[in-house]
Symmetry: C2
Subunit: 233 residues, 2 copies
């Protein structure tokens, strides 16, 4: 599947009704002052990425969002036997495949962290069905990695709910989401096996029919007192 | 301790002998085209951060470096009871304190990942004693957090050796370091208790006398077959 590139920034349009040109002749003066497609999503601009506080008039906003973590399994073991160039190639491919699946579903590739990727759905591009879009993106990733059939497997975890989204840190500014939802999504991912997508009950409820009959079991996640029920999407 | 701000980019100067103005009148034309202090270290410029391949004529280079991970402990539990605004405040402060300690020792605050921070020492600013600088930065962090005496504790892990440093991913470009050293540093951090700095044998050897008589014990780290000896710095 290919990614459709937008002519204007989808985030600035949805959040502020400002048409910021990303591509074509009209984008030239914007690019000259550093406004260009964001690394986090090529259909968003660098205003969305770097000027959150100025455009949103707040350092953080509380929003409903879906958070997805994907992690390349066996990476630590493999990095003990493969050459640095081989490992770099694996990572390049992992990031690129994840990026494309996330962007096709209008998500934000917020961070790459060594062998893991963190994505946020529903901001700055709003999606009524953000939990479902995240699950679809996760399934695309797993299909592509399954087709590749190599030593690598990817574990994915998804959770949704209220997060604080905005700018954190003053000296090293960073746009990201924080809160229990993010932590739970990360822990859910760590429970997933290679090739598996685990989602929380909230995700199941939000997605509805498509996840009605999936398998579930209880997991004990690090940092959480009570066991948590996760569903194999 | 305060941070000394450099007039020119230390990275461009050391790597390419190019004097890129970061501050003062001469920096104005550079800022106009988007060249300004990097978020990863205010004594480096955005060329160091975003144009690695163009300036280094390679996508990655293999270098000797020290990698430090610091993690805010009890964050997951706390995020279940504190308000999002309180958590945002804690994170802001954690990032800022870590950033300042890292920058005072010429390190690169490469990533903030929720409740964790990843720093790299010895590139783009070269330091003969990079392992020692990382340990000094870690001790400054622990001293500052100890002085604060709240519910938070920070666990820090440090390892050094050869890493691949450069740009990873094509669609979502990111400058970072990868390799066993990075994974080992992350795992070392996860073994550290709140208030503790754990370093590997390589770090001890590199730092020398200052770490000669520190306590050591064997740890079993996730993803590693053999137990590993870690030292409380």
């Amino acid at each position: 599947m290919t990614l459709t590139y937008s002519t204007i920034c989808k985030g600035c349009w949805q959040q502020k009704h400002m048409p910021i040109p990303l591509r074509g002749l009209l984008s030239a003066p914007f690019r000259a002052v550093g406004i260009k497609p964001s690394r986090m999503n090529p259909n968003l601009c660098t205003i969305c990425e770097l000027m959150f506080e100025r455009t949103m008039k707040a350092r953080t906003v509380t929003i409903d969002a879906t958070v997805l973590f994907a992690d390349l399994r066996a990476y630590t073991q493999l990095s003990q036997t493969k050459t640095p160039a081989e490992m770099a190639g694996f990572l390049d491919e992992f990031y690129d495949r994840c990026a494309n699946a996330i962007w096709r579903h209008d998500g934000l590739l917020n961070k790459t962290i060594g062998d893991a990727v963190m994505a946020i759905f529903n901001f700055p591009i709003c999606q009524a069905d953000h939990a479902r879009q995240a699950v679809l993106a996760a399934r695309e990733m797993q299909r592509e990695f399954a087709a590749r059939r190599d030593e690598f497997g990817v574990g994915i975890g998804i959770h949704c709910g209220q997060v604080s989204f905005g700018e954190f840190g003053h000296s090293h500014r960073d746009i990201t989401a924080i809160g229990t939802v993010v932590n739970t999504a990360a822990r859910t991912q760590s429970a997933a096996e290679a090739g598996q997508i685990l989602v929380t009950e909230d995700v199941c409820r939000s997605v509805g029919a498509e996840l009605a009959n999936v398998e579930a079991r209880e997991y004990r996640l690090k940092g959480f007192d009570d066991p948590i029920r996760l569903y194999a999407a």
